[in-house]
């Protein structure tokens, strides 16, 4: 278990800023997920923590001690790669044993041909540790196989085992589930979360999949264009995104965003006055975000946006109705019970309205969220 701290990490490649001033603290035993679209610099950040890449400036601290001068081996951190990066010529046993041999055996004991005559005690300790880890991950029966003979899920476990076997201070995971099929990915999500609980170790997990971030982590760090936008619990990131981009990225289906402008403290969007009063100067252009469950379809509501049903997504438990309105370029998504409106057809004209008590997120011109305390009065409108 180790705490990891990043202070003002900057990474520049030529003229491109890969990371711009990233500061982040990971507590000991925490499961922190760095989530962001591909190319946002999250993998680079992970490699900097591991010592595989060097930052242009800034500091990495592991257990409050500077680690910048340490090689990856000395940082005592394990990493699981998206490609698994198993040694294709070694059996599962040897793949798991390699990190231990490198640490517990002397160069003479590791030497080809003559090495086997030395250090049989150390060799036995290695074998013992490998077997324990293999049992723990239920891959004991695969020890004699080579990675090429394993399925994706099995390779994933071997990669985890290689990280686990030497009980490192912390685990870094770079999109470890991306190469698995959808079903396996969901079940591995549970297993990884359970593994974290059993080990109590520090996990730093990188993914582009917001559902992985939401379901597994203690805290989520949302990263875009080389900078951290928000670091908070999954629920807080969902409920109180600090920036429009965070709101857009977290949540599935995505949040509905549309432009509005301020009239005497009220927000007007496509002619409809939203029933809440804000302490915002007049004529300020803002973006309003309402999650799909905050909208509903009304037959004849006076305060709604008329539009045409463009697409229906029936998930069984939920029905997502995509309604094309004049409000925004993309369709509004409304979550409903499939039984609530049976017989809803494509092309039908409907009216979308905000559910009375639904939370509303308001972002300023720069995308920053306007402090909800500046909402001074919200009328409860039923209709």
């Amino acid at each position: 278990m180790a705490a990891i701290e990043l202070r003002h990490i900057v990474k520049r490649c030529g003229n491109a800023d890969i990371l711009r001033d990233v500061s982040l603290g990971v507590e000991a035993g925490e499961f922190l997920t760095i989530v962001g679209p591909s190319g946002c610099g999250k993998s680079t950040l992970l490699k900097i923590i591991a010592g595989l890449e060097e930052q242009t400036s800034g500091e990495v601290l592991i257990d409050a001690l500077p680690a910048d001068h340490l090689r990856p081996k000395a940082r005592d951190i394990a990493m699981v790669f998206q490609s698994y990066a198993l040694y294709p010529h070694l059996t599962v046993f040897d793949n798991l044993a390699l990190p231990l041999r490198m640490r517990w055996l002397t160069p003479v004991q590791r030497a080809p041909a003559i090495g086997r005559f030395f250090g049989s005690a150390a060799r036995q300790r290695v074998a013992q540790a490998v077997r324990e880890t293999a049992e723990f991950l239920e891959i004991g029966h695969l020890l004699d196989r080579k990675p090429g003979q394993l399925s994706g899920g099995q390779r994933q476990r071997v990669a985890l085992g290689r990280a686990l076997v030497r009980r490192p201070k912390a685990f870094l995971m770079d999109e470890p589930l991306s190469n698995l099929d959808a079903q396996l990915r969901v079940s591995m999500r549970h297993e990884l979360a359970a593994l974290h609980r059993r080990l109590g170790a520090t996990f730093v997990y990188v993914t582009h999949d917001q559902s992985e971030a939401m379901t597994m982590s203690d805290r989520v760090a949302v990263m875009m264009e080389g900078g951290l936008l928000q670091v908070d619990t999954p629920q807080a990131v969902y409920d109180r995104p600090s920036h429009r981009k965070v709101a857009e990225f977290i949540g599935s289906p995505a949040i509905n965003l549309f432009r509005a402008h301020v009239e005497h403290g009220r927000l007007r969007a496509d002619g409809i006055l939203l029933p809440s009063h804000w302490d915002i100067p007049d004529d300020e252009a803002v973006t309003v975000g309402i999650r799909p469950q905050g909208l509903t379809l009304k037959a004849d509501a006076p305060s709604g946006w008329r539009g045409e049903v463009a697409h229906l997504e029936n998930m069984g438990a939920d029905l997502f109705v995509h309604v094309r309105t004049r409000l925004c370029d993309t369709a509004l998504v409304v979550r409903m019970s499939p039984h609530h409106r049976e017989g809803l057809k494509l092309g039908e004209t409907v009216t979308v309205a905000r559910l009375g008590s639904a939370p509303m997120l308001v972002f300023d011109r720069h995308g920053q969220r306007i402090d909800p305390r500046r909402e001074i009065l919200s009328e409860v409108v039923n209709g």
């Binding site: 591991a50 010592g51 595989l52 090689r71 040694y87 294709p88 390699l98 990190p99 490198m102 369709a331």
Partner: protein, 315 residues
């Protein structure tokens, strides 16, 4: 939606005959197959199997090039070769040459490739520079080597003279002629091995080196043993076979520089075939040599492939 408007309201109808004809493997189809395979098979027969069969047949005759009468002599040519010390000398020299040139090219090529790949700068220049001998005309280059190795005006002996050593007549002495040829062979093939290894190094995933760093295999030797060498397995096998085949093909430098001399000290199989067939015009005997040469090359290549393949890991 905007994009749906771009699609036609209905898909255009299929051509009338399209669904009507049921799919059936017809006789015409196998005729097509034969017609498509025929050119390749024909060329292989004419260019590969035909000449091989011809050599086999001729090797059992006493045919001399240009002679009108041909007599079937069975294995007499082979028996004569077995009793001929020149044949054994040529065979031994060829094997010595291969045993010197192949390991030197494989090891040297690997080291060069690793050195070139370890630095970003001048990579393309080094690659081109080392590949130049492969592309050059060997006969012309042999003359250059002849000048370099010349006993009195050659650069090598002049340098040796400066540092106080006695030079030799490298290409004209029994003890050195074959090794001088081997040196030229290494010079010519090293770049080829290097370029192949460089391509192989490029295909090793970066992640594996990262994993090795994290697992603690981060010294140069450990990285080499854990990642580089095992993953170069398939390339190494290919380089070994290519180098061996090229080494067996030794001919030009022998023909230009030594003619197999002095006293057959640099006589090799391919050159002996040429001498027997086209200088002594003993075509039957030359064909027998060709058959032996072919059997050795095919045999060694097969053995090598099987041995190395056991230790090769196609990830």
């Amino acid at each position: 939606m905007a994009e749906t408007a771009l699609l036609p309201a209905r898909w255009p109808a299929l051509p009338a005959q399209f669904p009507a004809r049921p799919y059936r493997v017809a006789a015409s189809e196998s005729r097509h197959a034969v017609a498509l395979v025929a050119p390749a098979v024909g060329l292989m027969l004419v260019l590969l199997f035909g000449p091989t069969a011809a050599a086999l047949v001729i090797s059992c005759t006493d045919w001399e090039f240009g002679a009108a009468a041909v007599r079937f002599v069975g294995l007499a040519n082979f028996r004569a070769l077995a009793a001929d010390p020149v044949f054994w000398k040529a065979l031994g020299n060829t094997l010595t040459y291969v045993v010197v040139v192949v390991p030197a090219c494989v090891a040297g090529g690997l080291v060069l490739a690793l050195l070139i790949e370890s630095r970003q700068r001048f990579r393309a220049f080094y690659r081109t520079a080392h590949f130049l001998p492969v592309m050059s005309t060997l006969v012309a280059m042999a003359v250059v080597w002849q000048t370099l190795l010349h006993p009195t005006i050659g650069l090598l002996n002049q340098v040796l003279h400066v540092i106080g050593l006695d030079g030799r007549n490298w290409l004209r002495e029994e003890g050195t002629a074959l090794f001088a040829l081997a040196l030229i062979g290494i010079w010519q093939n090293l770049g080829y091995a290097t370029v192949l290894f460089m391509a192989g190094l490029k295909s090793i995933p970066r992640d594996l080196y990262h994993a090795a760093d994290i697992d603690g295999a981060d010294s140069a030797l450990d990285r080499l043993r854990t990642v580089t060498l095992p993953l170069l397995g398939p390339v190494t096998m290919f380089v070994l076979v290519m180098m061996a085949v090229r080494a067996f093909q030794l001919f030009e430098t022998v023909h230009v520089l030594t003619k197999g001399g002095p006293n057959k000290a640099s006589e090799v199989l391919l050159h002996l075939i040429y001498v027997e067939s086209f200088e002594f015009l003993r075509t039957g005997r030359g064909a027998a040599l060709t058959v032996i040469y072919l059997a050795i090359v095919v045999g060694i290549t097969m053995l090598q492939t099987r041995l190395v393949e056991r230790r090769v890991h196609y990830a």
